[in-house]
Assembly symmetry: C2
Homo-oligomer: 184 residues x 2
């Protein structure tokens, strides 16, 4: 249900086609709410039916036609309503790395260390990306207000979480390696 609200936010920032939205969900808002183009097209259809967005067909030079969507008044109202609504119990945690770690003694510990190292590197890379985006888009965070501030805070959340995963991976790899050396 919530993807539709992510789309509303993105379309309120700027109207666009399904394809453009899919590009945005490959980065930017997509870092915090993943979605494929199939999901997006399917949702756009439902949202048109619900009257949350309107659609203009736009013919283009040198490119296939596209359908540009923008948020209707009903859609804007619905978005505002959802933003104010207390969220459902939330955070259904599902972390397969934790499951693997917990089951490490039923598998091969060396493989688990390798897997944690892979994840460590992925989180480090993602953190690097966020820091690059921060420097590029928000060089002076202290002065931000309004929509820019909100966007910055979302990015900050991403950094905090990646930092946490990174330390966790580092600590765990160290502990597993020590354990392999002494016990096992």
């Amino acid at each position: 249900m919530s993807l539709e609200y992510a789309i509303l936010v993105s379309l309120r920032e700027r109207a666009g086609s399904g394809y453009e939205l899919a590009r945005r969900f490959d980065k930017s808002i997509g870092y915090f709410w993943a979605a494929s183009h199939q999901q997006i097209y399917r949702s756009l259809k439902r949202m048109v039916d619900a009257g949350w967005i309107d659609c203009d067909e736009v013919a283009q030079d040198k490119r296939p036609d596209k359908k540009v969507y923008r948020v209707s008044e009903d859609g804007a109202a619905e978005l505002a309503r959802w933003i104010g609504e207390p969220a459902t119990p939330s955070s259904t945690t599902r972390n397969d790395l934790s499951v693997k770690l917990r089951g490490a003694s039923f598998g091969n510990t060396a493989e688990v260390i390798a897997e944690m190292t892979r994840h460590r590197d992925m989180h480090a890379e993602r953190l690097e990306l966020y820091r690059t985006l921060e420097q590029r888009d928000f060089p002076v965070p202290a002065r931000l207000t309004g929509r820019e501030l909100h966007q910055y805070l979302v990015l900050l959340g991403g950094m905090r979480v990646e930092e946490a995963f990174l330390s966790w991976c580092d600590e765990s790899i160290k502990a597993l390696e020590n354990d392999g050396g002494e016990a096992s």
Copy 2:
């Protein structure tokens, strides 16, 4: 697909019935992989069909009969295989709080602050819980080895992530409040 591996881990730690597994998924392993009893019963059926687990019907005094499941050799082999397997691209991030924050200027900022405060409190509570569990189950973390170490590291991951969310919420609430005071 991955729930079945979480169940395998849990059943290798100790054989049990569907109901008992559902209780375990209300805490312990469930903090890192959420699952309802319907999912669990459904998965157990599939896993029996696949030959990953075996089932004994156990009659009980003063209670309904139950079906106790244990991991078969095939199941153990499959679990070990999965643990060693590099995980799929992973972490499909979906954080509705980030979406709400990003859309704050299209809703009511005061409501967003209230919502972030609610989440802040939930994360603080969860962190408290993890710290209690740590003190209860792992009073001397430095000496842990093997399976206990693995369980501790999973808990540590939970704490790191909750700490991160907590600081993020605190920072964001502060920034949003300041922004409301000066600009807007």
